[in-house]
Structure formats: structure tokens, C-alpha cells
């Protein structure tokens, strides 16, 4: 207890600090690349600059949801059922929801510029919206309460169900769209002719957003661990109080 009071340490370590500095530096460089150095697109003009945050965002969201599923599967299949896997799943799910939201909003801004409309009923857009809602549900189930193990089991099963549901939704939405001629609006507009620097900028964006994701997920897992620990401690106090009742 004493050592803890001495210095407030937070969820960082030397390694995460290095990772954090790297992330910030690469984000700054990405902004330079995307907003200043890279050229305008032949068809889309300057609106292509939104791509450098839009595409990496959805990339991170996919990684995050993949990680949620993988950690949930590990949690359910591991013998000791360590709660760290549950927390990693939860942290990744939360970050995934944030980044899907970001990519939906930036995507619709980009769409307004290049297609003249905020939203088209394109298969990819529609199933991304479903992805967002599905994982909102996942986060809601994580907050249902009960013991940590109950939360872990329930949400792990739900995460695996979500992984099953997503391809089904995506496939059926694609079938649905294929019947409508207007579907070409979406694909026609996004044809970007990329030169070397644009390609590099996009690639650099993916890397720096991945660094960002790693940094976020590590910190979030740790703060979730602390939340669990504090709840356990609250339970200790409550057990003490409960025993007192009997003495009086």
C-alpha cells in the first residue's frame, strides 16, 4: 500500500511511453503527408485527403473486432480462463466501436464531397453500419453486471456470435444491393488513381493507426484491470461489513 501512495503511476510503463511518443510523431508526420505533401487526385481533387484518416480508421476497427473475437475464443477455450483475455476483448471492442464511428462520419463527409451525398445504400456502408450497432450491443451486454466471470462468459459467447453474424449480414446486404442499378454510384466514385506518394501516405497511415491502436488497447486493458481490482476490493469491504452485521 505504501509504495502505491508514493507515486501515482497510471497505466503507463517505459515501453508504452516509447510507443506513445512513436504514435504521436507518426500521426504528426501523417498529417503533413496527407494534408500538405501528397498530391490531389485527378478525379476527386483534394477530397481524397480524407482517405488518409478514413481508411486507417476502418482498418483499426477490423483489427479491433478481430482481436475481440480471438481473445474471446482464447478465454473460452483456455483451461484457467484468465480474465485478462476478457479485458483485452472488451478493450478492443470499445476501441473498435470508436473507430467504426470515426470512419462512418469521415466516410460520409468524403461521400458528400465526392458523390454529393452523405450516405448511399452501398453494401459496404450498410454492413459497416450494422457492424457498429452489433458491437454497441456487445458493449451494452458487457455492462449488464454480475460477477466478472459471468460478464466474461456472456460477452465472449456474444463476440463469437457476432463474428458469425457479420459475414451473413455482409453477404445478404451485398446480394440485396446487387439488384439495384444505382449500386455503381458508390464504386464509380471511389476510383482513386494513386501515385507513389499517395500510396505511401495511405500505407503510412495504416501503420501509425495500428501503433495508435496498440497503445490504446494496452492502456485500456490495464485500466479495465484496475476497475476489476477496485470492484474486488469493494467486495472485500462489503464482506467485512456483512460479517459485522452478524456480530451486532
Amino acid at each position: 500500500m505504501n509504495s502505491a501512495v508514493a507515486s501515482p503511476r497510471g497505466t503507463g510503463t517505459r515501453n508504452t511511453r516509447i510507443l506513445g511518443i512513436l504514435t504521436i510523431a507518426s500521426m504528426a508526420f501523417l498529417a503533413l503527408l496527407g494534408l500538405v505533401f501528397s498530391a490531389e487526385d485527378r478525379d476527386q481533387g483534394s477530397s481524397v485527403r480524407i482517405m488518409y484518416v478514413h481508411v486507417p480508421s476502418i482498418w483499426v476497427a477490423y483489427i479491433a473486432f478481430g482481436m475481440t473475437a480471438a481473445c474471446s475464443a482464447i478465454y473460452l477455450s483456455s483451461r484457467n480462463r484468465s480474465l485478462i483475455w476478457d479485458r483485452f476483448a472488451g478493450a478492443a471492442g470499445e476501441i473498435g466501436v470508436l473507430f467504426v464511428a470515426v470512419s462512418l462520419v469521415t466516410g460520409s463527409l468524403w461521400g458528400r464531397l465526392s458523390w454529393g451525398t452523405y450516405w448511399v445504400w452501398d453494401a459496404r456502408l450498410t454492413s459497416t453500419a450494422f457492424l457498429f450497432i452489433t458491437y454497441l450491443g456487445y458493449l451494452a451486454v458487457r455492462r449488464l453486471g454480475g460477477t466478472h466471470r459471468q460478464r466474461a462468459r456472456r460477452s465472449a459467447v456474444l463476440a463469437l456470435l457476432a463474428i458469425l453474424e457479420i459475414p451473413l449480414v455482409h453477404f445478404s446486404v451485398r446480394l440485396w444491393r446487387s439488384l439495384h442499378q444505382e449500386a455503381t454510384v458508390a464504386t464509380g466514385g471511389t476510383d482513386v488513381h494513386m501515385d507513389g506518394l499517395m500510396l505511401f501516405s495511405l500505407f503510412f497511415g495504416l501503420i501509425s493507426f495500428t501503433l495508435l491502436f496498440l497503445w490504446l488497447v494496452i492502456h485500456r486493458q490495464r485500466s479495465l484491470a484496475l476497475e476489476d481490482a477496485m470492484e474486488n476490493r469493494g467486495l472485500d469491504a462489503a464482506i467485512e461489513a456483512r460479517r459485522e452485521e452478524a456480530v451486532s
Binding site: G145, G146, T147, R149, Q150, E231, G234, L235, A238, I239, E240, R242, R243, E244, E245, A246, V247
Partner: protein, 211 residues
């Protein structure tokens, strides 16, 4: 004697409230154990833990030699719980309720008829919807569906509540018969005089612990 319930320092929580704050309890086969204690002492939770319904957060426990932490599902087939609620479907008649519970365990028609006559819910009452019964009649219906489940451990939460004098006598006789046939009974009751006459041992539950 064979130990059928063995709890060591069991903590069980409702949300974040420790309903059981470290209970240790040992029950032998053939006992009729009475749990006493004020409201909110943890009697109901203790029964639910023994039934494998509430997960245990800390401590260890086994019921009929089956580990509570890992195999709660296996325990449940071998114990019977009568909780605060009766576990009846209010839109089914008394007979339909008991038939349903019988069919989940594959009990015969004869067993159903016996259980219904033991708890006096046969005849005219059998065709009444559970939602229209009096509290005591519902209690008797719940006990009848408990009988057809042939439990090895009977966990009863206030079984006497709502029963009339005759019903209480029948319940006591029923429990004594069950014990004679090799079952074990744990009951929580405020009817301490009556229950004490029935019980072979009394344990006081208070502040989420047992003494």
C-alpha cells in the same frame, strides 16, 4: 455418515452485494437441517448456492461430492429447490404444471397421481390455473412438482408459509418420509417451533455467515 453438503468459506454475490460472506457448512445424509436467522441474513442465498443456482465467488464447496465451482449443472439434476417463488407457469393448470415437470425427468403417470394426492391438489383443483390459486394452494402445487423430481437433497425456503394446519402436518410427514427413503432436507423457516420439532439440527445464519 456420508457428507452431502460441504461448504468452506463460500462467498456469493448478488450484483456487488455479498449475500454470503464466507459460509462454512457441512451436512450429512439423512439430516433435516433448519436454517434460522433474521430477514436478509443469507438463508435464501445459501439454499440457492446449494442448488447450484448461484455461482460461488470465493471459497470451495461440493454437493453430493460434485464440485460447486466447476460442475454446477450436474448438481442441479440431483437436488430440488423450493424457493420464494414457486416456479409455476401461471397460465397452466395445476395438473399441466406437474405434468410438465414430470416430463422433464421422465416420471410416470403413477408418480404424478401420487404426488398430486399427497399434496391434495388432485380432483377439482387439478383443473384450475395456477394463477387463480391461493398462496397455500400454489405452495402445495410447487411441492407436488418437487416430489415428482425425486431429488436427493431437498432445499426448502419457507415451505410452511401459506399452508394451513393440515397442510403443514402433511408437509412434515412428507419430509420425514423422504428422509427415511434416503434424502436430505435443508429448510429455512420462520416457524421455528414447528420446524425445530421437525429438524435434527439447527444452524443460525446471520450476516452472510453460518454458526
Amino acid at each position: 455418515m456420508e457428507t452431502v453438503i460441504e461448504l468452506k468459506g463460500v462467498v456469493a454475490v448478488l450484483g456487488s452485494f455479498p449475500a454470503l460472506a464466507g459460509v462454512s457448512l457441512s451436512v450429512q445424509r439423512g439430516e433435516i437441517l433448519l436454517l434460522q436467522g433474521p430477514n436478509g441474513a443469507g438463508k435464501t442465498s445459501l439454499l440457492r448456492v446449494c442448488a447450484g443456482l448461484m455461482p460461488i465467488e470465493r471459497g470451495t464447496g461440493s454437493i453430493l461430492g460434485i464440485d460447486l465451482a466447476t460442475n454446477r449443472q450436474d448438481i442441479r439434476t440431483r437436488v430440488g429447490l423450493l424457493g420464494h417463488t414457486n416456479g409455476l407457469y401461471l397460465d397452466l393448470t395445476v395438473e399441466q404444471n406437474i405434468q410438465f415437470w414430470a416430463s422433464t425427468v421422465g416420471a410416470s403417470q403413477e408418480e404424478v397421481a401420487n404426488a398430486m394426492s399427497t399434496m391434495r391438489v388432485d380432483g377439482r383443483l387439478a383443473k384450475v390455473k395456477a394463477g387463480q390459486l391461493s398462496a397455500g394452494q400454489r405452495r402445495r402445487t410447487a411441492l407436488a412438482s418437487l416430489i415428482v423430481r425425486r431429488a436427493e437433497i431437498w432445499l426448502l425456503d419457507e415451505p410452511h408459509a401459506g399452508l394451513d394446519a393440515a397442510g403443514r402436518d402433511e408437509l412434515d410427514a412428507l419430509l420425514r418420509n423422504a428422509v427415511a427413503a434416503g434424502a436430505t432436507v435443508v429448510l429455512a423457516s420462520h416457524e421455528s417451533e414447528r420446524a425445530a420439532g421437525l429438524a435434527t439440527r439447527t444452524v443460525t445464519v446471520d450476516g452472510g455467515g453460518a454458526r
